[in-house]
């Protein structure tokens, strides 16, 4: 026996020993724990005492995400979903519209604690620290701090309306957002706190804020016919600001933050919401981590904010033609344009925007394609979005009725009813495209139930949303499921054309877990052939849904 052969045998034995040392661990992890599916991921449990504020950089965020592809780009299931593919409540996300239909009043109120705010008795307390929109800070009579922002003179009501609408939608989706209100500011009644300070833009030093500084801000703001100013009033979130979160990796100083952000479903799927509302500015710098204190325990809560650049608003101008259609730096079309001396033209250059009130900005739905929509620059979480992530988001989008959309748009209080009508109609048109794209991109079966009488039922979400015809056939494979090993036995296959069928007694009788694989046949949607894998666990009173896996 040669020494080479002996070495190979030793290598093989060594590897075998290492593998054997891992196997018991794997076999001891059941597929489903007793508390599955969890509805809450308590990611506020550990004291985040060591978190420190991160200094944000707009330029770095652009450079890194445009040229360095940070995070891990891969095709894996989102890591923060529960076993039925839902996103548990957490410091990132609270299921709202996705869990139950919100009333119109709830939708419109959003995160706001007040019906409205009046600026009487408020005092200017400082300047804005960042952002393009002209504005300053005010404190209410109780001393709480708010940010006041104005519309550009060229587009009255545009940015403030976008912020109101965007906040209401993102709150309904489930994200943490700050309270925002529309109010009217009478320049004759502006009071300035004697302690108000600002950074002088000409010298970069802190100094006392004066009436003249306020007037300078007002000179860049749209004025109402009555001489007042329509303003956006944003209430500062409670807690201490910690800087932006990023769409990749985790905060190294937060013990609760263990799931890479690019693999969080609610961040991946924000691409769907962003496309619907044309939130091209959805990037790390428009997010905020806040350190909250709750009974001596500190935890990080993650906010999305700054929706002034959604729909047709570019905050201080009407949205650019490129916005939502192409990254700031998109290499291929640029090289093509250069090589052809401009004869090659991007599709979005040909979009014919209708003549609409200035408060709308530049927004339309006819040429909108949810698949091709782009934020300002690449986003790690968006790039990792899979069909199941998008399907999850599309189901939330599907819950917004036409009336819901109109109610939220009306919250912006556009003085020209044509603006309300146009934005509502455009959002409805874009919603329908989102649903048609993403509810059909994966096998769209939902709402699985196995009754104690053995009746198995489900719903086709795409059909329910009116964006697809029913499948011609459902191929169902029943089997018993071993929760400790993950293996199946006793498979029985059946087909049905309906969404209700009896479970085979041979499989379900005395079984603790049952696995059902359902593939759908549809002449238009080949993706439906990939089966949805569903698991039921027997309870004392029947069967409970414990697992749903849509894309392998």
């Amino acid at each position: 026996m040669s020494s080479k052969r002996i070495t190979h045998q030793r290598v093989a034995l060594g590897l075998l020993a290492l593998v054997l040392s891992m196997v018991p661990v794997a076999s001891q992890s059941p597929s489903f724990y007793p508390d599955d599916p969890i509805a809450l991921d308590d990611d506020m449990s550990l004291d985040a005492a060591k978190v420190v504020r991160i200094a944000d950089s707009n330029i770095y965020d652009f450079v890194e995400n445009t040229f360095a592809n940070p995070g891990v780009r891969h095709d894996v299931r989102a890591q923060n979903v529960n076993t039925i593919g839902d996103v548990p409540d957490s410091s990132w996300f609270v299921n709202r519209m996705g869990q139950r239909p919100l009333s119109t009043a709830e939708l419109v109120r959003g995160p706001d604690r007040f019906d409205s705010v009046s600026l009487d008795g408020w005092k200017v307390s400082g300047d804005k620290s960042s952002g393009l929109q002209p504005g300053f800070r005010m404190t209410d009579p109780t001393g709480h701090l708010y940010q006041i922002e104005f519309d550009p003179p060229s587009n009255p009501e545009m940015a403030t309306g976008a912020e109101i609408i965007g906040t209401a939608f993102y709150h309904a989706f489930g994200y943490h957002t700050v309270e925002v209100y529309i109010a009217e500011l009478d320049p004759a009644k502006i009071e300035i706190n004697p302690e108000a300070r600002m950074t002088d833009p000409l010298v970069g030093k802190r100094r006392r804020l004066t009436r003249r500084d306020v007037d300078e801000v007002l000179s860049r703001a749209a004025r109402m016919p009555n001489g007042h100013y329509r303003v956006l009033v944003s209430r500062f979130a409670d807690g201490a600001p910690l800087g932006n979160f990023r769409y990749y990796g985790t905060r190294p100083d937060d013990p609760n933050d263990i799931i890479p952000h690019e693999d969080r479903r609610e961040l991946r799927a924000a691409r769907v919401f962003g496309a619907w509302l044309n939130h091209d500015d959805s990037r790390g710098v428009n997010s905020l981590d806040m350190l909250h204190t709750d009974g001596g325990r500190r935890y990080v809560k993650h906010y999305m904010f700054d929706f002034g650049s959604i729909m047709g608003s570019g905050t201080v101008f009407a949205q650019r033609h490129r916005a939502g259609n192409e990254y700031i730096v998109d290499w291929a079309p640029g090289w093509l344009t250069l090589a052809t001396l401009g004869l090659y033209t991007r599709d979005w250059l040909h979009i014919d925007y209708p003549d609409v009130p200035p408060s709308v900005g530049r927004f339309e739905g006819r040429s909108f394609d949810p698949l091709e929509w782009r934020p300002e620059y690449p986003n790690s979480a968006f790039d990792n979005m899979r069909a199941d992530d998008a399907f999850w988001a599309a189901r939330i989008v599907a819950k917004f009725s036409d009336a819901d959309i109109r109610a939220i748009v009306s919250k912006a209080r556009y003085s020209d009813p044509r603006a309300t009508d146009y934005i509502t109609a455009t959002l409805i048109e874009r919603r329908n495209k989102v649903l048609k794209t993403w509810l059909t991109a994966a096998n769209p079966l939902v709402d699985f139930a196995l009754g104690s009488d053995g009746a198995f039922t489900f719903t086709n979400a795409a059909v329910a949303a009116g964006v697809a015809t029913p499948a011609t056939e459902y191929r169902v494979r029943w089997s018993r499921f071993d929760n400790s090993t993950g293996s199946t036995t006793g498979a029985i296959e059946a087909t049905t054309t309906g969404t209700r069928m009896p479970a085979p007694p041979a499989v379900v009788k005395d079984a603790e877990f049952v696995q059902v694989d359902i593939a759908s046949e549809h002449p238009q949607f080949s993706a439906w052939k990939a089966p949805v894998t569903v698991h039921f666990r027997r309870h004392s009173s029947g069967w409970g849904l414990v697992g749903v896996s849509r894309v392998q």
Partner: protein
């Protein structure tokens, strides 16, 4: 043989990688795997988690034992510094660096400036700067302006400057000047003046002013190019060798409806009428400059056609002449780009420029251009016949407010190929 040689030279390496020793490593690995298990195995010795919440909690506990502050990498630190400290210095009051060029052909210049816009209850702005270029051009300037009087409708200002430009190019006067006759002269200019502008409508500005200046000519200081007096005299270059004092009253009319400032549509029309009054009347003349620029665009304003017509004419007083250094010039990065700087000089000039600009990426445009123009000795020759011309292509890094950096390559002229890298737009 090579292998044997390596064995002789590296006995330690050979000992470490011999098959027998590698086999030993594998066995050690096997023993370690059993006797000193990996962390995963160690966890197995703890009670397995009983719930999903416990699985997650264990992972958080594990991270909680090793939390570390976020550390920025070098690039992030650098860009953050640029954003929070360096960037904010540009456009701010106080002492600031100054970069760019002093004049066509001056080369890259750098210097220092001081700006204070908080004078006279924030109505007044004092701006002082000095700079020197790689070609030893230098200038200092001070100005005081009140740009927002009468709610922005009125601007008043006064200024003084001193310039020393030692290598200004001169090829002779008129369209027949020869490329081979390139010479250089030095001009030292001291100037002081006042100006006023009224803005009766949003796009309309009417202004005027008066300035006193003194031009002092001297031999050029180029090592490669002969000085002007080697080839020219006062007869062929009026004003050569003299020092002149001028008083110049002027009037301007400007209509500007470009959108945006880095224009994609609209127009900019400017007329300036001046009288250059020489103390001795030997060089007194009147001059009128007209500059018309028009912009049109298609495809969401990402394809822009920009055209320009510029004309200048000078009328000397009776018995007077126009000094060559106050004549309009053509050639260089902002006029005939296929020619060298100041290639043509004459009392009358006409220039047309056409550019087709197309956006490649946001903030980065490419352009194809065609320039044509000429200088003439007689006003009656100001027409579109026998124009010098060139064509070329360029790139622009820009914003809505203007072009930051421009690279233009000019061809097709009788003066060779020219590459210009310039801060700012051509028109």
């Amino acid at each position: 043989m090579i292998h044997a040689a390596r064995e002789r030279r590296c006995p330690v390496y050979n000992a470490l990688v011999s098959r027998r020793v590698i086999g030993f490593y594998v066995w050690v690995g096997f023993v370690v795997a059993i006797a000193a298990p990996a962390p995963a195995f160690a966890q197995a010795s703890a009670p397995p988690p009983q719930t999903r919440a416990e699985v997650l909690q264990r992972a958080r506990d594990e991270k909680g034992r090793s939390v570390t502050p976020y550390e920025r990498n070098g690039l992030e630190r650098a860009l953050n510094t640029v954003e929070t400290r360096v960037q904010s210095y540009f456009g701010r009051d106080g002492v600031h660096p100054k970069f760019g060029s002093l004049d066509t052909g001056s080369g890259f210049a750098f210097g220092v400036g001081y700006l204070n816009r908080r004078l006279v209850d924030r109505e007044g702005a004092l701006n002082i700067w000095g700079a020197v270029s790689l070609k030893k051009y230098w200038a200092v300037e001070g100005s005081f302006d009140m740009p927002s009087l009468a709610a922005g409708w009125l601007t008043l200002g006064t200024y003084a400057r001193h310039q020393d430009y030692p290598q200004q190019a001169f090829f002779g006067i008129g369209p027949e000047s020869r490329r081979d006759d390139q010479t250089a002269f030095r001009i030292v200019n001291s100037m002081a003046g006042g100006r006023a502008r009224v803005k009766p409508a949003r796009s309309l500005t009417v202004g005027g002013g008066v300035e006193y200046f003194r031009h002092e000519l001297a031999p050029g200081r180029s090592k490669e190019i002969p000085s002007i007096e080697a080839l020219f005299t006062d007869a062929t270059a009026a004003g050569l060798g003299t020092t002149r004092n001028f008083l110049r009253p002027y009037f301007t009319f400007e209509y500007d409806y470009r959108q945006p400032r880095n224009a994609r549509k609209g127009g900019w029309y400017r007329l300036e009428a001046s009288r250059f009054a020489d103390a001795t009347d030997q060089f007194t003349f009147n001059r009128v400059d007209v500059d018309l620029r028009q912009y049109g665009s298609i495809l969401a304003e990402r394809r822009v056609l920009a055209v320009r017509l510029y004309a200048s004419t000078s009328e000397p007083g009776s018995g007077a002449r126009v000094p060559f250094y106050l004549m309009p010039t053509l050639g260089g990065h902002d006029s005939l780009r296929g020619f060298r700087d100041y290639r043509f000089r004459g009392p009358h000039a006409i220039l047309t420029q056409t550019e087709y600009r197309f956006e490649v990426w946001s903030g980065f445009d490419a352009a194809l251009f065609y320039d044509a123009g000429k200088v003439t000795l007689r006003r009656s020759d100001l027409n579109f016949k026998d124009l010098e011309h060139d064509y070329g292509f360029g790139f622009r890094f820009n914003t809505d407010n203007g072009t930051i950096l421009r690279i233009d390559a000019g061809f097709g002229s009788s003066d060779g190929k020219h590459l210009y890298i310039v801060f700012g737009d051509v028109f």
